[in-house]
């Protein structure tokens, strides 16, 4: 039951209507049942795995909370190890054992669609494990008390709008909301519907339309010239953004229908003025997770160990940053998948960030010498463009099927040119149209948030006209057989 399907909309409608029919104190039970039902609609057997994981982690957290803070590090490491082993087993099994097949063809009622003969990653397991790890770390640090109600704890982990692709919610953000009563809130409800609609626009009009061109080029990269590969890479940058942020909008919008506020994962990332700024705006719940639970602990540990002011004529602070950031983005790359392409994608960001950190004083000096103000519109434009080009380069590795294909594409982009390939002008035109509309909306929200408001205009006629226009655009230019979201695989 993908978000971009009619059946999901019907499911959502049914769950929302019945939710508000139940007495408030038992609505969480209905949400939990709906969440389990949603998960079962994919591959039912994995709900048993998730159920066991939820129950075991529920008791592990209570056990962890009972240990004094100074003595609980070993217990936390054990809990992290158990969860990571589970994730690694499903995520990397096929990579390390490509010839090992498990035969599940006899379990027809568990796999009603396609019998599988290799390990598949249970939907949302990466997000679930990262959510669990943040929960245990916060319990270990005594920042929160463990949840003692297994129903609320299960709903925190399995809440259907966020189970498949996040956001990776911190316990402090979501668990208190589960304990609250959520009477019908018209403003939040209408906000949720608008966000869902905009999510559908991003997914159906932008992402899935661009995917047609991107797939056509990248799946036969050897056959195409550098210009077409550059255009496909440019399109992929917007495809992956519209795909993932579209999913997030539908997730956040769905949660709002029940009165819940989830954390937004995106803040107009292609208007970032630096790579650091990009990661403050892209997949925010993952980047803050990596910052708080990987980078900062490493940096604090090293800052206590590296006592000298400098090493090899470079300040120890810069070394600490370099080591911490490279480890963090290596993990970020590996989290997305095993393979050189993901690893290099992550490492590239580590290199970008380290370079910016090491040359921070130099670039400040150059800017002063040239009398360039940081707030100058030309300088801001230059920074946005430079950041986008650097990010665009990393997407080649993210999208390429192998490292050799990525290097071949880069080589072609710089050495071979020619006419842009297209077999249907409509895909190009609609694709560019989608990008323009998306970026115009983002430009407005970034630079003039108070003006030209359509969906939140004070005149109902303008709001309704905006909604109708988006619906018509989706129906006329949307792709309705585009398939799953890119981040489902992670």
């Amino acid at each position: 039951m993908l978000f971009n399907s009619i059946i999901y909309l019907l499911f959502l409608l049914f769950v929302v209507i019945t939710y508000y029919c139940f007495p408030q104190r038992i609505r969480w039970i209905w949400l939990l049942v709906a969440s389990i039902g949603y998960y079962i609609s994919f591959i039912p057997i994995f709900i048993a795995l998730l159920g066991c994981g939820v129950v075991i982690n529920f008791f592990l957290a209570i056990w962890l909370a009972g240990i004094p803070e100074k003595k609980n590090s070993g217990s936390l490491i054990l809990i992290i190890f158990l969860n990571i082993i589970l994730l690694a087993f499903f995520k990397y099994f096929n990579t390390f054992f490509p010839d090992f097949h498990i035969h599940l063809t006899g379990t027809g009622h568990f796999f009603p669609s396609d019998p599988v003969n290799k390990m598949i990653l249970p939907l949302g397991l990466s997000y679930l494990i990262f959510t669990l790890l943040s929960y245990h770390i916060e319990v270990k640090r005594k920042n929160i008390q463990p949840e003692t109600h297994i129903g609320y704890f299960s709903l925190y982990l399995l809440f259907f709008p966020r189970i498949a692709q996040g956001p990776i919610e911190r316990p402090q953000q979501l668990i208190p909301q589960l304990h609250q009563i959520h009477p019908f809130n018209y403003n939040l409800f209408s906000d949720g519907l608008k966000q869902i609609l905009w999510g559908f626009f991003k997914k159906l009009v932008v992402a899935d339309r661009l995917a047609i061109y991107v797939n056509a080029i990248y799946n036969n990269a050897e056959e195409h010239n550098g210009t077409s590969l550059l255009v496909a890479t440019f399109f992929f940058a917007f495809q992956i953004y519209a795909d993932f942020s579209g999913y997030t909008d539908i997730a956040l919008g769905s949660a709002k229908l029940f009165g819940f506020n989830l954390t937004d994962n995106f803040k107009r990332p292609y208007f970032a003025t630096s790579i650091k700024d990009f990661w403050d705006r892209w997949h925010i719940t993952l980047s803050t997770w990596l910052r708080d639970y990987i980078f900062l602990p490493i940096a604090y540990y090293l800052s206590n160990r590296l006592k000298k002011e400098s090493y090899l004529f470079v300040s120890s602070q810069k070394w600490i940053y370099l080591i911490g950031i490279m480890i963090t983005f290596t993990i970020c790359g590996i989290w997305h998948g095993v393979g050189w392409t993901y690893l290099i994608w992550g490492l590239l960001f580590g290199v970008y960030l380290s370079y910016a950190n090491w040359t921070k004083d130099l670039s400040k000096k150059i800017r002063k010498q040239l009398h360039i103000k940081k707030t100058s519109p030309y300088y801001v434009f230059y920074k946005i463009l430079l950041t986008f080009i650097l990010v665009l380069f990393t997407w080649i590795f993210f999208r390429a099927s192998s490292l050799s294909q990525a290097t071949m594409i880069i080589g072609k982009i710089f050495t071979s040119s020619g006419p842009v390939f297209f077999y249907s002008p409509y895909d190009l035109i609609y694709g560019i149209f989608g990008i323009i509309v998306l970026m115009a909306a983002e430009f407005k929200r970034e630079f003039i948030p108070e003006h030209w408001t359509i969906l939140y205009n004070r005149y109902p006629a303008v709001r309704i006209a905006g909604i109708v226009l988006i619906v018509i655009t989706i129906l006329l230019t949307g792709v309705f057989d585009g398939g799953q979201f890119i981040y489902f695989q992670f």
């Binding site: 005594k142 650091k276 980078f295 900062l296 604090y300 950190n357 940081k374 707030t375």
Partner: protein, 86 residues
């Protein structure tokens, strides 16, 4: 801690932040300016701020308490430091 010392401590932290992280052409920051969530201070760079505070005030702040939220304003930073000053 009396009011005068508290203000001195806040100024010390504020001046360090201005010197290390803020450009002259950026607008003035105050004790309550959101440093990390507004992008003035790189959340990945706040370790140097922690080291400065630990060395300056001869304290040890546990890494689990030195969160981006606790470092978001000068007032919050000073509150955190005060918890560990003997």
């Amino acid at each position: 801690m009396d009011e005068k010392n508290l203000i001195e401590m806040k100024d010390l932290v504020l001046n360090y932040i201005i010197k290390e992280y803020i450009d002259e052409d950026e607008e003035k920051i105050t004790y309550d300016t959101a440093l990390i969530s507004s992008g003035y201070v790189d959340s990945f760079s706040m370790v140097s701020l922690l080291v400065f505070l630990e060395n300056k005030f001869k304290i040890k702040i546990p890494s689990s308490k030195a969160t981006p939220e606790a470092f978001n304003t000068v007032n919050k930073i000073v509150d955190l430091v005060n918890q560990y000053i003997k």
